[in-house]
Symmetry: C2
Subunit: 119 residues, 2 copies
């Protein structure tokens, strides 16, 4: 086994949005995820979104050749949890402003985690 200290597969950006809009609109959310992937020059392999009842929250993922973007929304709270995990040449950071432009959070928090770096 190698610890691969020289090989961090990627960066994982965890976004918490409060006071956000569009959280029960599946088509809008799909557009937002596709746009975020495009802005990172990532390749979408597959996208799946599930809505909990009419006008309810949405949970879903865009599987990428470079890892994934996921979203879980609580429209009744104005809250959404998004993750953007990208490996290879793609930079997850490039998704942050596009996602903020779509969902227009009043407040947000960002956690950035380096994945695959052995310490």
């Amino acid at each position: 086994m190698e610890n691969n200290t020289e090989y961090p597969p990627g960066t994982h950006v965890l976004l918490d949005f409060w006071g956000a809009t569009g959280l029960s609109d599946v088509d809008f959310i799909e557009q937002a995820l596709m746009n975020a992937a495009n802005r990172c020059e990532a390749t979408v392999l597959y996208i799946k979104l599930h809505q909990f009842g009419k006008e309810g929250g949405v949970t879903g993922v865009a599987l990428l050749a470079e890892s994934h973007i996921s979203i879980h929304t609580w429209p009744e709270l104005g809250y959404a949890a998004l993750d953007v995990f990208m490996c290879g040449k793609c930079d997850a950071e490039n998704s942050v402003e596009p996602l903020k432009e779509y969902f227009k959070p009043a407040n947000f928090k960002i956690n950035r985690i380096i994945r695959g770096k052995y310490e």
Copy 2:
């Protein structure tokens, strides 16, 4: 808009496994994700796994009623990045030992992030 300081939707556990096994076996990975979901008493809505060529890495997700479990593997490195994000009454922590039992990492790192807690 409410900041919902009393409403943390869930816990996100990010697992990095090194020296792990079974990383190019799609059926095995599906079993591992299903078992992890069951151990957390989570409801699997949908599971999708994609393999990059024969014997290559696997990228995939189990969408849950309580959020998601994702996996991305680099079998050539023995490395896998797993995420377990669970909201509601499910505890993502209960997936950690089952996932270690499946993939038998020689080394691992765990990041735990509280999601949805406004600070």
